[in-house]
């Protein structure tokens, strides 16, 4: 194999960081990045699903007939998503209430399916695990950064703790949907400018 495991892992953190480089998984990133707490919860859920589904798809890649591979990927991904959903309901119910529909929506989120199709179906188990972990952490990081900006400026808090003094006027625009688009656009712009050197 040309690339080492470390390379597979690291590329997810910068070179192929999901929302910015691959521009995948934007729907949840816009909705869930209102507060840092939600973003971290969502990030952990995605990491879990991505790593597990990548490993399983890689393990089964020789058995899965190519004509029905997408259906097989969806079954694998959906299974792990429901596992996450049930565990969240059982142990972190308030977080489950906040994330709501976006947990089941990980199924149709392009990241796990995209990685299964583009990577895990063609590579070994270890490489796929590294790829899933890298991209998952990359996704969680982007969510955390975006949500930090939105929560700090839009609400004046970070993880629920007040950042600015009482005189701070929250920039409400940031926690609304348009704020998410503008913020994401600016981050994409910065990332592209940095990558162009």
């Amino acid at each position: 194999m040309a690339k080492t495991l470390t390379q597979e892992f690291v590329k997810g953190l910068w070179a192929e960081i999901p929302p910015f480089r691959l521009v995948l998984g934007l729907c949840p990133i816009l909705a869930v990045s209102k507060t840092v707490e939600n973003a971290v919860g969502m990030g952990i859920a995605v990491i879990f699903v991505l790593v597990c589904s990548n490993i399983l798809v890689a393990a089964l890649r020789k058995i899965i007939p190519s004509k029905v591979r997408i259906a097989c990927f969806i079954i694998v991904i959906a299974t792990f998503v429901i596992v996450v959903e049930l565990l969240m309901q059982a142990y972190t119910y308030p977080l489950f209430l906040k994330l709501g529909i976006f947990i089941p929506l990980i199924v149709v989120n392009c990241i796990p399916l995209g990685r299964a199709e583009a990577f895990a179906y063609k590579n070994g188990i270890a490489a796929s695990a590294a790829d899933g972990l890298g991209l998952g952490i990359g996704y969680a990081m982007s969510l955390t950064v975006l949500s930090s900006i939105r929560e700090v400026f839009g609400n004046g808090t970070f993880l629920g703790a007040t950042v600015f003094g009482p005189s701070f006027q929250p920039f409400k625009f940031m926690v609304e949907a348009p704020g998410a688009f503008v913020c994401l656009g600016l981050m994409l712009c910065i990332m592209n400018a940095m990558g162009k050197k």
Binding site: L60, P65, I75, V76, I82, V83, L86
Partner: protein, 197 residues
């Protein structure tokens, strides 16, 4: 032909495996999820109604089977007497069903308090039924055995401005709960006594 068979076999095995895993997990987490739902959805309303009770009403609960359905009752201990019971009721609101918790004093049939748990009313208008303590307070002390109506219908409840349908939904739920209460009161009193310490 062989490929066809392989496709069918792989998909069938994958699906049944996934189904089995999820069923097992669901069974394993069912009880915990039920407790979590009680705690976070109905819990706040129950605790509010039974404020000052000396026991944990969520723990001290019992079920009575009425016809086909099973209803859960939460007991509140005041001055060492298990005289207040909270249970669920629902009414038709503007945007869908309004789920409520209704508390009743078994000694004098007076309403101990009401609280909205789930609803899909308009935010800022009908949704105030859940958040505005002034609206809920009006129910306290009314007779549960009598019909509860809004002022426009000749009753005692001040409807929330702009949310007549929601207000009527709430009063209808309370009235319904009252009818039901009359039917099962003897049973209720007996069961509640067993929680007395």
């Amino acid at each position: 032909m062989r490929e066809m068979i392989k496709m069918v076999v792989v998909l069938t095995v994958l699906c049944s495996f996934s189904g089995g895993l999820l069923a097992a997990l669901r069974d394993g987490t069912k009880e915990r999820i039920e407790v979590q739902q009680l705690e976070f959805i109905k819990g706040p309303a129950i605790r509010k109604i039974l404020e000052g009770a000396s026991n944990d009403p969520i723990k001290d609960r019992f079920k009575i089977k009425i016809g086909e359905t099973e209803k859960t009752f939460f007991v509140g201990l005041f001055d060492g007497k298990a005289n207040t019971v909270v249970y669920e009721a629902s009414g038709k609101g503007f945007g869908g069903d309004i789920g409520m918790m209704i508390g009743v004093n078994l000694a004098d049939d007076k309403i101990a308090g009401v609280g909205v748990t789930t609803h899909s009313e308009t935010p800022g208008i009908g949704a105030k039924a859940q958040t505005d303590p002034k609206f809920a307070k009006q129910f306290k002390g009314l007779m549960l055995t009598e019909e509860v109506k809004v002022k426009a219908d000749g009753g005692k409840i001040d409807a929330m401005s702009g949310a007549t349908v929601t207000s009527k939904g709430v009063t209808a739920a309370v009235t319904e709960a009252g009818k039901f209460y009359k039917e099962i009161k003897p049973q209720l009193a007996e069961k509640a006594k067993s929680f007395q310490k």
